[in-house]
């Protein structure tokens, strides 16, 4: 086993698949020669050549459309959108053309594409580099949405995504690329899309999170532990499909839950999780399920992003509200 940070694990997943399957292509802005603005694809062009790993002109819609066209000819494109805010330029190709290909053609064509993009706050990046836009994708039929929280999952989930015969929006939290190292197996393994993971067991309350917020939730759980509260923490890993069974099983035990997200509070993943809890577990609840999420504003400029984003203290406060209900 090797020690890898999340960026290296993501790169390793692409290396494994480029080697295993000649139909896999990796492309986007600056991903080839230099290996991406975060070097997530560094060395891949040298290893696999310019026809497998290449730079494109700067146009996100064309990157998406290129992927759709290539996918109809038997290729498995891994297309990078350089920063999350730039997906707005590619939404038609990602959320309409790729996501509807299987349906519109009655299964004659499908779009086995991975759209990779860095996202997520707390790094003082420029505007529109850090928004959490997963909610847009979650509301879009026909595309899977995956957000890993650690190197091991990132590699296994990305390999699953590349092998998936449907489009996958694979969102990589900027603040996790270099945050820590993990034991990551060399070579081939997968983490299934659609399975959440209980990352901390507890009996008093369930904290549901994904991406960087899993780690923030773990910090909050440690704080709560000091006060004698045993919090269970669930890492969703996949937002579509959503593993509601793992959530319900936890709530049956804890009877209380909150959902943490970096995206603005309304109409997002947390709202959907809570709706499904209502449908499947309402009689197990002792308190309403609350959201710990930023206000419904645009993502702020860097100066106030730390106050805007959820932190351990806010999570503890939200947990206390459901405990004291």
């Amino acid at each position: 086993m090797a020690q890898m940070n999340m960026k290296e694990a993501i790169r390793d997943a692409m290396r494994v698949e480029l080697k295993r399957d000649p139909s896999v292509l990796v492309f986007g802005e600056d991903v080839g020669h230099v290996g991406g603005v975060f070097r997530a694809t560094e060395g891949l062009q040298g290893e696999f050549g310019e026809t497998r790993v290449f730079d494109t002109p700067l146009a996100e819609s064309a990157i998406g459309g290129l992927a759709v066209g290539l996918s109809t000819q038997g290729f498995r494109p891994v297309a990078e959108i350089q920063f999350v805010g730039f997906i707005f330029e590619a939404l038609d190709q990602m959320f309409v053309q790729a996501a509807r290909m299987r349906y519109r053609s009655g299964g004659r064509y499908h779009a086995p594409i991975v759209f990779r993009t860095p996202f997520g706050g707390g790094v003082k990046a420029a505007e529109l580099h850090t928004d959490s836009l997963e909610g847009l994708a979650v509301q879009t039929p026909g595309i899977k949405v995956v957000i890993p929280s650690n190197p091991y999952d990132a590699k296994g989930l990305l390999i699953s995504a590349i092998r998936d015969n449907d489009p996958v929006f694979f969102m990589e939290h900027l603040n996790l690329y270099h945050a820590f190292r993990d034991e990551v197996p060399e070579g081939d393994y997968t983490v299934p899309i659609g399975k959440a993971k209980v990352v901390r067991e507890g009996k008093d309350v369930t904290i549901i999170a994904y991406g960087l917020m899993v780690h923030t939730a773990m910090k909050a759980a440690e704080e709560l532990e000091k006060a004698g509260v045993q919090a269970e923490v669930i890492d969703l890993r996949s937002l579509v499909p959503l593993d509601i069974d793992t959530i319900v099983a936890s709530i049956q035990k804890t009877n209380r839950a909150i959902v943490v997200q970096e995206a603005q509070k309304s109409a997002g993943v947390a709202a959907e999780v809570i709706a499904q809890i209502n449908e499947k577990a309402i009689l197990h609840l002792e308190a309403p399920v609350l959201r710990c999420a930023p206000p419904d504003t645009v993502y702020p400029f860097a100066q106030i992003e730390d106050q805007w984003l959820p932190n351990a203290a806010r999570i503890v406060k939200t947990v206390n509200q459901v405990l004291e209900f």
Partner: protein, 367 residues
């Protein structure tokens, strides 16, 4: 300014200057509106049987179009975009391709799909809002009609890249209109094709109107073909009412693409006789005089005259093909109407390769 024949690239004319030159262009023409050969050098090499087949397809397509309008009025078809007037660009450009070349159509380009192999009843099913309409048979190299203007331009670009990566001697062709040439996806596609030197043909059927907006309001560019200049690809303008000129231009572009010479933008000057769809009124945005001017250039009349002079076609032939087309349309619309209806459960199952648990659950409500 010198006139530049547009079957050559538009770039690199005139003296060196820091200002990009936009020279005049003249569309490629093989036949005059009277059916006289005006450009024998560009006459495609076609046998008598092939020439008759092209006329057959154009007459068939116009008859099908007329019938489709009626079927629409009877409520037997849904969304339908009329094609009369554009037979030369549609039938001719498809005829110039090989069967393994790939077509990425806009919403009006159903004739190209059908002549490339899509069964007619499936074209009717598409119009009727049935999923089987887009279920392209194996071996038929087309995508479904595109509704988002310009999105298909990028798909053709990706498909062309696929052919290039696999070293296949094939081209992708995509169609849009004069309105589509204003879309960002149009410029992105041309630019990618230039940068990667891809075997793609971008065919703009400039019929003068984007629904109601006239070409003059669409762009200040001298022609759509000129837009190739900025992307570094070939730009060609062709008389889109002259089927032999269309075939000549597309054959040349395909040959260049297959041999590694990159992409071509072809602007075909044409006219749609009928409204954009069944829902707009042409009298609100164009004149009877203009319509009459274009009808003189009619692609069927022009090519018919040429064939008559060669003793290859007569009014009886036209009457026979019309009859055959009417019968085929009747039979194919019946087949479409008899096709089993879609179900919501089937819709749910076509979202993903494997229907995930939440959709299985939602499906239960519709069974």
């Amino acid at each position: 300014m010198a006139k530049v024949s547009m079957d050559r690239p538009v770039a690199k004319t005139g003296a060196l200057s820091h200002e990009v030159r936009a020279d005049d262009i003249a569309p490629l023409q093989v036949l005059s509106p009277d059916g006289e050969v005006v450009n024998p050098d560009r006459m495609p090499k076609l046998s008598d049987d092939q020439l008759k087949e092209i006329m057959y397809r154009m007459v068939f397509t116009r008859t099908w179009d007329e019938r489709a309008i009626n079927l629409g009025r009877q409520g037997r078809l849904g969304f339908y975009a009329p094609v009369s007037g554009q037979e030369a660009t549609m039938v001719g450009s498809e005829y110039a391709l090989n069967k393994d070349d790939f077509i990425c159509p806009g919403y009006r380009d159903m004739p190209q799909l059908v002549w490339h192999g899509l069964p007619l009843y499936q074209a009717f099913l598409y119009s009727r809002g049935h999923q089987h309409g887009g279920q392209i048979p194996e071996g038929v190299n087309v995508l479904m009609p595109q509704i988002i203007i310009g999105a298909q331009i990028l798909h053709a670009t990706g498909i062309g890249m696929g052919f290039k990566l696999k070293n296949e001697q094939r081209v992708a062709i995509t169609y849009t209109g004069d309105g589509g040439s204003s879309e960002g996806d149009f410029y992105e596609g041309l630019n990618f094709a230039g940068s990667f030197k891809l075997p793609v043909i971008y065919f703009v059927q400039n019929n003068g109107y984007a629904i109601t907006t006239p070409f003059a309001k669409q762009t200040a560019a001298q022609s759509i073909a000129h837009k190739a200049l900025a992307a570094g690809i070939r730009g060609v303008q062709v008389d889109g009412m002259d089927v032999l000129a269309v075939i000549s231009a597309v054959q040349e572009a395909a040959e260049i693409g297959r041999n590694g010479g990159g992409a071509t933008l072809i602007e075909g000057l044409t006219y749609r006789y009928r409204p954009h769809s069944m829902a707009d009124d042409t009298t609100k945005y164009r004149t009877k005089e203009e319509e009459a001017e274009w009808s003189i250039k009619d692609p069927l009349v022009r090519f018919g005259k040429y064939l008559e002079k060669k003793g290859l076609w007569s009014d009886e032939d036209t009457a026979r093909v019309k009859e055959e087309a009417k019968n085929t349309v009747n039979e194919q619309i019946k087949k479409a109407e008899q096709t089993e209806k879609m179900t919501v459960a089937g819709l749910i199952d076509s979202m993903f390769e494997q229907t995930p648990p939440h959709l299985e659950e939602q499906k239960a409500d519709y069974q």
